[in-house]
């Protein structure tokens, strides 16, 4: 029982970060109907940039985080304008291929600038675990979990209360209707990409402080895909829930199945869950089932 609760808590904490990365997928899918395979690479870019500001440029923490955010927003706008705008109205395969090519390009760019070695952040969050009712929680993961929840809350407020949030929801609902009521759809697309890049930069900085940065960090983006799908691709709350579910299942699988098969289940368990979810509830827990009319 103790092991179970411990595994559950660890899973929840890790799942928070998956949820944060999954929010990036959901934002872009909700607004533009594009599934962005380059999300992991955007996360990696943010993490590397923040590391460069902190360590190579010797900036204080607040300045480097703010600069990273500004950089992420600029990159988001730039990608939308140069790569995705020409894809409007193209078949779905072209769009998927475009984000895949972007991810290849970005990972090449990152290794070109920063090389292949591991970069270690100066410790921003105290290491070690804290005791919580007899169970250990990693302080870093707890921090990540809280940031993920805060981001979720901020986005919920943004979408409910702000003008641009409303414009984005309108665009997600129907681009033509939004257009005819005066929403600049191109600007909204740019904003969505900027925000999604920003969110991945937050995730990147968090993961960077926990594990360090390396070009393999982009892989985490692929692991957040099952989280986004299980939650439902249209729901931001779903992304968080999906992230937590994946985190917990992964942790439980690593705890209970690993000893039986000799380790490594953690790497693929999210995908096994993904295939099962696709078979039985393909549109996720909170996703919308699209009813198609000809």
């Amino acid at each position: 029982m103790n092991t179970f609760v411990q595994l559950l808590l660890t899973g929840l904490m890790v799942g928070g970060i998956y949820g944060l990365v999954a929010i990036g997928f959901v934002l872009i899918y909700k607004g533009t109907r594009i599934f962005n395979f380059a999300q992991g690479e955007l996360l990696m870019l943010g993490a590397f940039f923040c590391w460069a500001m902190l360590v190579q440029a010797h900036m204080p923490l607040w300045a480097s985080v703010l600069l990273t955010f500004a950089f992420a927003i600029a990159i988001g706008f730039a990608i939308e304008r140069t790569a995705l705008r020409p894809m409007l109205g193209q078949p779905i395969l072209s769009v998927i291929m475009m984000t895949l090519a972007l991810s290849v390009f970005l990972s090449g760019l990152v290794t070109l600038i920063w090389g292949g070695a591991w970069k270690v952040y100066p410790s921003l969050i105290p290491m070690g675990g804290i005791n919580f009712m007899g169970f250990t929680l990693s302080q870093q993961h707890l921090f990540g979990f809280v940031i993920a929840l805060l981001t979720f809350a901020a986005f919920t407020l943004f979408f409910r209360r702000s003008r641009y949030g409303l414009a984005m929801r309108a665009t997600a609902e129907d681009q033509q209707v939004a257009r005819s009521s005066g929403v600049r759809v191109t600007l909204v697309f740019g904003l969505i990409w900027a925000i999604a890049t920003l969110v991945s930069a937050v995730g990147g900085i968090l993961l960077g402080t926990i594990n360090g940065v390396n070009f393999t960090l982009g892989q985490i983006g692929l692991k957040a895909i099952p989280a986004a799908l299980i939650g439902g691709l249209e729901s931001i709350g779903g992304a968080i829930v999906g992230g937590l579910i994946i985190g917990v299942l992964e942790s439980l699988a690593a705890g209970y199945i690993d000893p039986l098969v000799g380790g490594g289940v953690r790497e693929i368990f999210p995908y096994v869950v993904l295939v099962i979810a696709l078979l039985f509830r393909p549109y996720g827990i909170f996703g919308l089932k699209r009813i198609e009319r000809v």
Binding site: L100, L106, L222, E267
Partner: protein, 348 residues
């Protein structure tokens, strides 16, 4: 667009793949060139051509699923791995002949492909791409963790043999690859104009309309998945006996992405276009690889990692530019050129 004055007056003429005497002549010249190639080419170009031929088989499989049926697969490299390991285990560990192992590899890969195509019952588009992405990870994980596949260290495979003859030299094995490729391409050319091929194109263009017209979506999507993975399995088997050492690193996610990229560059939904795409990307790859050492000697400051990342960026950029500037691929350009050539000096 056919040359002026070419009419079909008999059903047999309508069925021909090569329709004009010029096309037949080019086909025979091309075949003779491919057959004589090992006589005057060095070992390096022979290996390039062998790998291109294997890749053509694999990408043609993907072309059925993506180019004709409109479903996206990110797991083609993993299906190829299934074929490679099946063939390796059957010949090396169980001692079965190559001629048994080759089709078995295709069928095994096809069955695994069917398994991951099952969600096609409920989903399409992005969601289906996810299922194949999961296939990519799960299959490779299985290969790395099973004992029969040799785990992460890989597996040694015996060279292919038919009867008492063993294809040990690259030159003799080249003919095996060539024969299989020609059979597979002939089959492909014919398959896409059967009932199944027409059903796939209908599904690609509008799946709801196709369903209303009586096309059984689930049946034909699964068939596309099976054939797609079958081709990958055959390619994998040829690959295993070509390299004689296989490991999971040959079949990564990036390889799957490149197979998709080749279809995009060549032009979707055409056998000829697919061949253009594979040849273009592979030859580009080859020239970048041969340029590498030359660049390294000219600029000694550039390290290996910088060069690797530059080539990664270069390939990403090639695909991005193709998507933006030439979304219908090289084949479309080629068709436009042929039309212009046939009509010259008139505009239509």
């Amino acid at each position: 667009m056919r040359p002026c004055g070419t009419f079909d007056v008999k059903y047999e003429q309508d069925l021909r793949i090569a329709r004009t005497p010029a096309q037949r002549a080019w086909a025979i010249i091309g075949l003779i060139f491919l057959l004589c190639f090992p006589l005057f080419a060095g070992g390096h170009w022979l290996s390039v051509l062998s790998i291109i031929a294997i890749t053509i088989i694999c990408v043609q499989g993907l072309n059925f699923l993506t180019g004709y049926c409109g479903q996206i697969s990110l797991g083609q490299a993993a299906f190829m791995a299934v074929g490679a390991y099946t063939s390796g285990i059957l010949t090396t560990k169980l001692g079965l002949p190559f001629l048994v192992a080759l089709p078995s590899a295709g069928i095994m890969a096809g069955l695994i492909g069917l398994l991951f195509g099952l969600p096609a019952l409920k989903v399409k588009g992005f969601y289906l791409a996810m299922s194949t992405l999961a296939a990519q990870f799960i299959i490779l994980w299985g290969i790395k963790h099973l004992s029969i596949t040799g785990g992460t260290t890989g597996m040694t495979v015996v060279p292919a043999s038919i009867g008492a003859f063993t294809f040990e030299s690259a030159r003799s094995y080249y003919y095996v690859i060539l024969t299989v490729m020609i059979i597979m391409l002939y089959f492909a050319k014919n398959l896409v104009r059967t009932k199944a091929g027409r059903a796939w194109i209908a599904i690609r263009d509008n799946d709801l309309a196709a369903e209303i017209m009586g096309v059984n979506l689930y049946h034909y999507k699964l068939l596309a998945f099976f054939i797609c993975a079958f081709y990958a399995g055959i390619a994998g088997s040829l690959w295993a006996h070509y390299l004689t050492v296989i490991h999971a690193g040959h079949f990564g996610l990036m390889d799957s992405v490149w197979y998709l990229g080749m279809i995009i560059v060549g032009g979707m939904g055409s056998v000829t276009g697919m061949i253009f795409g594979v040849a273009f990307i592979k030859l580009l790859d080859e020239s970048v690889a041969s340029l590498g050492p030359a660049l390294a000697t000219t600029f000694p400051g550039i390290s290996e990692t910088i060069f690797a990342s530059l080539s990664l960026m270069f390939f990403g950029l090639v695909i991005i530019l193709f998507l933006i500037l030439e979304p219908r691929g090289l084949y479309h350009r080629w068709e436009m050129f042929k039309t212009w050539y046939r009509l010259h000096p008139f505009s239509y």
